[in-house]
């Protein structure tokens, strides 16, 4: 029982990170119908920028950790968002309106480019970081029955929930959100009605990348080690999460993220760590077979 609860907490933490990345996939897919294959690598770039940011704070002698973290989150979001924006601008925008495969290939190329760029710029070896946020709370502690949640885990889950709620509000209620939904429905019509489609799409990429940057910072703090390759597998899983939740749906991405995190934690905990990715994909396939539009996706009948 205690083991179960502990895995639940670990899974939720992991799921929060996947959920943040998944939001980027789902928003981009929703608006331009493309799998942004480079998004996982944007997250990786975000992790590196965060790590460098933390080191810079250290070099500047800023030792008050909450303030340092706050500044790093901000900086990482800004710089990673710039990467996201640039990628869209250079590699995707000129291909809007051509076949479905062209932007996908371009995205895969971007992904390969970013991986090798970071590898060349920062070296291939994994970068370790000593733990910065220490301490934990014992939720239950009786005899050998022990469940703990670390401050870091609390921070990750809380920050994720806050960010998700904020962005959902933004997309539901603001004019930016309306522009996004209009562009999603019909790009030509939206632009005829005076919506700046290019800008709307750019902002979507910026939001997605900044959320990925937050995920990157969290992973850096949580695992204490990153390398240039982390974007690939996390990207696949986050995309899986988006599909699982119903691609195009924001709450779906969050739900999917948490579920993938939980599946992974429980699969590792109860079956096998080596095969945890197999578990994730097996469940994805099952869900797609029985609910092809994902858990929260609207079942739609294609208009003929």
């Amino acid at each position: 029982m205690d083991y179960f609860l502990q895995q639940l907490i670990n899974g939720a933490t992991l799921g929060a990170i996947y959920g943040l990345i998944a939001l980027g996939y789902t928003m981009v897919y929703g608006i331009i119908g493309m799998i942004n294959f480079a998004h996982g690598d944007i997250y990786m770039v975000g992790a590196f920028i965060s790590l460098i940011g933390l080191m810079v704070m250290g070099a500047l002698g800023l030792t008050f950790i909450p303030l340092a973290l706050f500044l790093v989150v901000l900086l990482a979001m800004i710089f990673t968002a710039l990467y996201g924006w640039t990628v869209e601008r250079i590699a995707y925008r000129p291909l809007r309106g051509s076949s479905r495969l062209a932007p996908l290939i371009s995205a895969i190329g971007t992904s390969i480019f970013l991986q090798n760029y970071v590898q060349i710029a920062q070296g291939a070896r994994a970068k370790p970081l000593p733990p910065m946020v220490r301490g934990s709370v014992d939720l239950i502690h009786t005899g050998n029955f022990q469940v703990t949640i670390s401050y870091l885990q609390i921070m990750i889950i809380a920050l994720t929930v806050v960010l998700m709620a904020g962005f959902t509000f933004m997309i539901r209620k603001t004019s930016l959100g309306r522009a996004q939904r209009a562009t999603e429905q019909d790009m030509t019509m939206a632009s005829l009605l005076g919506i700046n489609v290019d800008r709307t799409i750019s902002i979507t990429f910026i939001i997605g990348a900044s959320l990925a940057a937050v995920a990157g910072l969290m992973v850096t703090l949580y695992y204490g080690v990153i390398d240039f390759y982390i974007g690939f597998i996390a990207g696949i899983k986050a995309f899986t999460a988006a599909v699982l939740g119903g691609i195009g749906s924001l709450p779906g991405a969050m739900l999917g993220g948490f579920l993938i995190g939980l599946i992974e934690a429980f699969w590792s905990g109860y079956f096998s760590v080596a095969y945890k990715d197999v578990g994730v994909f097996a469940i994805l396939v099952l869900v797609l077979i029985f609910r092809p539009t994902g858990l929260l996706g609207k079942p739609e009948i294609e208009k003929v």
Binding site: L51, P103, S106, A274, L284, I289
Partner: protein
């Protein structure tokens, strides 16, 4: 007028340079170095300046080029524009010429062991590209895990040949069949889904196969893979210097021993396999099955309204494509003599897909060019490992931007009434 243009271009380039500097600042400006005492930070400010400078000049140069070539950069082409009613006589001649070159390549004066070996590698990707072309180019299904079937073929050959001593020519169809069965197993539940879901499921499948290969140590050898996979023989004659079981290739033909024999043999073997794949595709395109694949790519709803079962048709394409990957995998295993999960990572799937799409979807010759460009060319830059992949990624993006439909996108009809009428009269 020109002054104004220059001004706008300068401003434009300045903005681009500024963005580049910002992008470079965190990742190039700082360098994380890990030493015994932990991470430390180095500063490389000049790199930020170089990046900005390079982007500034590059941007200006592109502006000038665009001005000079003007209309050539116009990339808008419609769906039926790539169609040509012309049977493409020039293209067919060109194809024959390529085959002729391939046949005599090892005997050309400048050909050496290294070149033939590189050509073999290119041909593997040509074959894989043609195989994936069935799935992506003809049937329009997005398969991001093609390498899984390649891996299945390779391991099937290695295990069958090593454990049971089955010969290459018997293993080849078996490996193909096994890969095709996996294709059916995977395709059956997911081919009913929307196209993008297929992409993610195949991607996941590729990873699953790799994870299994890596962890199922008793059978697959785990991360260490399988070594001393039986090497190819010339109808039973091994290509080794001496053999305990009978005459070797060089003894039988009274030649002095040379390791080149095996390399040349492997080259012709993959050439034959690739040509077989090509002939298969040319023929199937003219059959109802192949036409249904293309029709499905064009409009699935219309296909259903004409009585075509889309799931079954897609499944056939998926399994056929997988089968050819299985063949190629067997060849890979016997060529290397050693296989490990490392050879079957996602990047391989990405390269094969890039070969198909950059070649020009559905174009057989385009795939040859793309394979030469993406696989052959980088082989000359082996030493620059990371920079090579960096350029590879950038090239994928640039080629797509330059020709979104691929290098040689064109399709001519598989049957022509005009030609039939000519033949009748």
């Amino acid at each position: 007028m020109t002054a104004l243009r220059l001004r706008t271009e300068l401003v434009d380039a300045l903005i681009a340079a500024f963005v580049a500097a910002l992008l470079a600042l965190p990742l190039l400006g700082f360098k994380l170095t890990d030493s015994a005492t932990g991470l430390s930070l180095d500063y490389r400010w000049p790199l930020v300046g170089y990046a900005a400078g390079a982007v500034f000049t590059g941007r200006l140069a592109i502006g000038q080029l665009r001005h000079f070539f003007g209309a050539r950069f116009d990339r808008t082409r419609g769906q039926s524009d790539i169609y040509s009613a012309d049977p493409g006589r020039a293209r067919i001649m060109f194809g024959w010429a390529l085959i002729a070159i391939a046949l005599v390549l090892p005997w050309l004066p400048f050909a050496d062991k290294g070149l033939v070996d590189k050509a073999t590698l290119v041909l593997i990707y040509v074959m894989l590209g043609w195989g994936l072309n069935i799935v992506v180019g003809l049937a329009g299904l997005l398969d991001l895990g093609y390498v899984a079937f390649y891996a299945i073929g390779a391991y099937a050959y290695a295990l069958l040949a090593k454990t049971f001593g089955i010969s290459f020519w018997l293993c080849l169809p078996l490996a193909g069949l096994l890969a095709a069965s996996f294709g059916i197993l995977l395709g059956f539940p997911v081919l009913r889904l929307r196209g993008d879901y297929l992409a993610i499921v195949t991607l996941g499948f590729g990873e699953i196969i790799r994870v299994i290969l890596q962890n199922w140590g008793e059978v697959t050898g785990g991360p260490n893979g399988i070594n001393s996979v039986p090497r190819p023989t010339f109808f039973g004659l091994p290509f080794s210097a001496i053999s305990p079981t009978g005459p070797t290739f060089h003894e039988f033909f009274g030649l002095p021993f040379s390791p080149v024999h095996r390399i040349y043999f492997l080259y012709y073997l993959i050439l034959a396999l690739a040509l077989f794949t090509n002939i298969f595709i040319i023929r199937i395109r003219r059959l109802p099955a192949g036409r249904a694949w293309e029709a499905l790519r064009e409009d699935e709803t219309a296909c259903k309204s004409l009585g075509i079962n889309p799931t079954l048709t897609k499944l056939a394409a998926f399994a056929t494509g997988a089968c050819f990957a299985g063949f190629a995998g067997s060849f890979f295993a016997t060529r290397q003599g050693f296989i490990s999960p490392e050879s079957f990572s996602f990047i391989e799937s990405a390269i094969i897909l890039a070969v198909v799409v950059l070649g020009g979807m559905g174009s057989q010759i385009g795939i040859v060019f793309a394979a030469l460009l993406l696989v052959g060319l980088p082989e000359w830059f082996r030493e620059l490992e990371q920079y090579r992949m960096l350029a590879f990624g950038a090239a994928m993006v640039l080629i797509m931007l330059w020709r979104p439909r691929g290098l040689l996108a064109s399709r001519s009809p598989t049957v022509r009434l005009g030609k039939l009428a000519e033949a009748a009269s």
